[in-house]
């Protein structure tokens, strides 16, 4: 409940900051009665009102039937998963699709309880197959990155 209130509070503050920013949005000259400011102001205002209500009277969280309460190991896993996702996103382009996917795929597999060897083999095979499938067959261009010189 505390975390929920905290999150709602941050969200509300973000909404209010956005409203403050929106105050400046005015068209230099305009042909229509409603400028670019009204709509975001209206939405942010209603959202903030709803958030304020939730802050005062938070609804109890209805847990799914197979959900366990958050414990320290799970929390650690979630944080490392987020970091891994961010690193993958950052390295995707400069590092190239195949190398970054092999590394990220392997680490993901390990994080979700895969054993060393199967994880490694799966991620290598998967990355190369997905590259061929998307880049070569489906025409979705993917970055080669450090493999650029290989002329494949």
């Amino acid at each position: 409940m505390l975390f929920q209130r905290l999150f709602l509070g941050v969200w509300l503050i973000a909404g209010l900051v956005m409203m403050y920013l929106a105050l400046d949005y005015q068209a230099p000259f305009s042909y229509e009665p409603v400028g670019p400011r009204a709509y975001p102001m209206l939405m942010l205002g209603l959202m903030s009102a709803g958030l304020a209500y939730l802050l005062i009277k938070p609804t109890p969280i209805d847990h799914a039937h197979d959900e366990k309460p958050m414990d320290a190991p799970t929390a650690r896993k979630v944080v490392s998963c987020i970091l891994l996702l961010l690193a993958y996103a950052l390295l995707f382009e400069p590092f190239g699709f195949v190398p970054s996917s092999i590394v990220a795929g392997f680490l993901f597999a390990r994080l979700y309880g895969g054993r060393w060897l199967p994880s490694l083999v799966t991620s290598i095979v998967m990355s190369i197959c997905l590259y061929i499938l998307f880049d070569r067959i489906l025409d979705v261009p993917l970055p080669l990155g450090i493999l650029d010189g290989l002329e494949i």
Binding site: M18, V34, P40, Y53, L54, Y88, Y112, V140
Partner: protein, 505 residues
């Protein structure tokens, strides 16, 4: 008669070899995506948009692909419900209640084929309803001006909250966040940059593929972390694979009833398959009374939600095609896909793009037949896929999602934005905020603002135009009813609780 001509024309489009293959591939991909835990129709459809683009598919073929994936996902979702007791997605939760006990009794094959049959009937009846009602609604919707559209969108948003049951405020806040996010980027009317923080990547707004995949795929990857114990054994589907005539007859009336109610729920904005299946199951259970074996493996309890899901999926396409207002999260994604093709869904679609609309409707018929036929021989393959462990599944989800996002603009910024949105989505899910209203709000936001501004431009700033016509008055009235409904429900529940409390004391 005119309708039949159009339908024939549509079958002409859908029966071309390319489109038949596309529908077949779509149903297969959809079934696999639907049956994997954590992936639903929203992810499946969103992932295929960049692929459809890259392949240079014409809009009607792309829409056929997406619709086939949508139907396939709903078909696939029930396989894990019946064999594993784990709903493949939210809407098939009701299927587990009677499907799993049936599988435990050794009737897994019968349960699977019968649920496929029910789903087929539901989808078939709903598609017939679509053929009958969609052109009428489209004709009627041409009378809609910007003011009426604005009212309609307010109604759609309020409907979401009204249907959300016990958490109307959370739903409302989520959809308002979506409505706000749509305003990010350059304002088309005045050229003002809004909330871009001087980043060129945000100048044309948040790409909706980024939003969808972040909210639904990345957050799912994070949620799956808690379920690493997954490796549950599936019930083996042995013995009789096909249901017999007696079993089909025993659920036929259930099929008919649930198809109609599911169709209506599908057409209503915001209700969708989850609510339709829950309503169908509860109604059938009540109608069966003491005689039913609901919860212990009653065939009707299996047929009811499946029929309703099939029907509501097709029903949800009606508001999408005729009004341009999506009825569910998945149709919202499809609208986004159409806008990428520069096609604005709405009443004029039936006049301007008859091949697209009727081709889609015809291919819904075809995809349903395909799914029904595929179901029996392929079930062994599908059960194999269910055995894929999470550690192999998650990397695939993460990598394919990144490919889907990268394919749109080829920037690192979009990938990072997707992860951030995913984290936000994960927290929102943990806090019990529903995510599909957010998505619907995001899709409706741009339209809503444009229509509001257009309406007020017509009236030169006078607000009266928003409720001056008869149509808009009716829509506003409906919106007010939808607003009051949850309040009454909460108030009634509170007074009941108070009474129970008093009785205890």
């Amino acid at each position: 008669m005119e309708t039949l001509n159009f339908l024939a024309q549509g079958f002409g489009v859908a029966l071309t070899p390319t489109n038949l293959i596309i529908a077949l591939v779509g149903t297969l991909i959809g079934t696999v995506v639907g049956l994997l835990p954590g992936l639903g129709p929203i992810n499946g459809v969103a992932l295929l948009i960049p692929v459809a683009f890259a392949l240079g598919l014409p809009p009607e073929s792309a829409l056929i692909l997406l619709a086939a994936v949508y139907l396939g996902c709903e078909y696939g979702g029930r396989i894990s419900s019946i064999l594993l007791n784990i709903p493949g997605e939210a809407s098939t939760l009701m299927t587990t209640l009677d499907g799993y006990p049936l599988a435990r009794k050794g009737l897994a094959g019968v349960a699977l084929s019968l649920s496929a049959w029910s789903s087929f009937i539901g989808a078939f009846i709903a598609t017939c309803g679509m053929v009958l009602f969609a052109p009428l609604l489209a004709k009627w919707a041409i009378a809609f001006g910007p003011a009426e559209y604005f009212a309609l969108m307010v109604f759609a948003i309020v409907c979401l909250a009204g249907m959300a049951g016990d958490k109307p405020i959370k739903t409302l806040v989520a959809s308002l966040l979506g409505l706000f996010l749509a305003a990010i980027g350059i304002d088309a009317n005045s050229g003002v940059y809004r909330f871009t923080f001087d980043s060129i990547h945000l100048a044309d707004g948040i790409q909706f593929v980024v939003l969808v995949l972040g909210l639904f795929s990345v957050s799912e990857v994070l949620l799956l972390l808690e379920k690493t114990h997954h490796g549950q054994d599936a019930v083996k589907a042995t013995g009789r694979m096909l249901f017999n005539f007696r079993e089909a007859k025993s659920v036929f009336l259930t099929n008919l009833r649930c198809a109609v109610s599911g169709f209506v729920m599908g057409v209503l904005p915001g209700a969708g398959a989850t609510l339709a299946s829950a309503l169908a199951y509860m109604t059938e259970k009540r109608m069966a009374g003491e005689k039913g074996e609901f919860g212990k493996g009653d065939l009707r309890g299996l047929a009811a939600p499946e029929t309703a899901i099939g029907a509501s999926c097709c029903g949800a396409m009606i508001p999408m095609l005729t009004l341009g207002v999506p009825g569910s999260g998945t149709t919202a994604v499809m609208i986004g896909a159409l806008t990428l093709y520069n096609i604005t869904p709405g009443p004029l679609l039936f006049q301007n793009e008859p091949t697209l609309v009727w081709g889609l409707i015809a291919s819904l018929f075809i995809a349903n037949v395909m799914l029904l036929i595929l179901n029996v021989p392929m079930i062994k393959v599908f059960t194999k896929i269910l055995a894929v462990p999470n550690w192999a599944l998650v990397p695939i989800i993460a990598i394919i999602t990144s490919i889907g996002v990268y394919a749109v603009h080829a920037t690192t910024f979009d990938l990072i934005l997707m992860v951030i949105i995913g984290i936000l989505g994960y927290i929102l899910r943990k806090l019990d905020f529903p995510l599909s209203p957010l998505l619907l709000g995001f899709i409706l936001g741009g339209l809503m603002e444009q229509n509001l501004r257009r309406a007020l431009s017509i009236s030169n700033g006078s607000m009266d135009i928003l409720w001056s016509s008869g149509i808009s008055q009716v829509v506003w009235l409906l919106a007010i009813v939808m607003l009051i409904l949850p309040m009454i429900r909460i108030w009634r529940r509170r007074s009941l609780r108070r009474k129970a409390h008093m009785a205890n004391v």
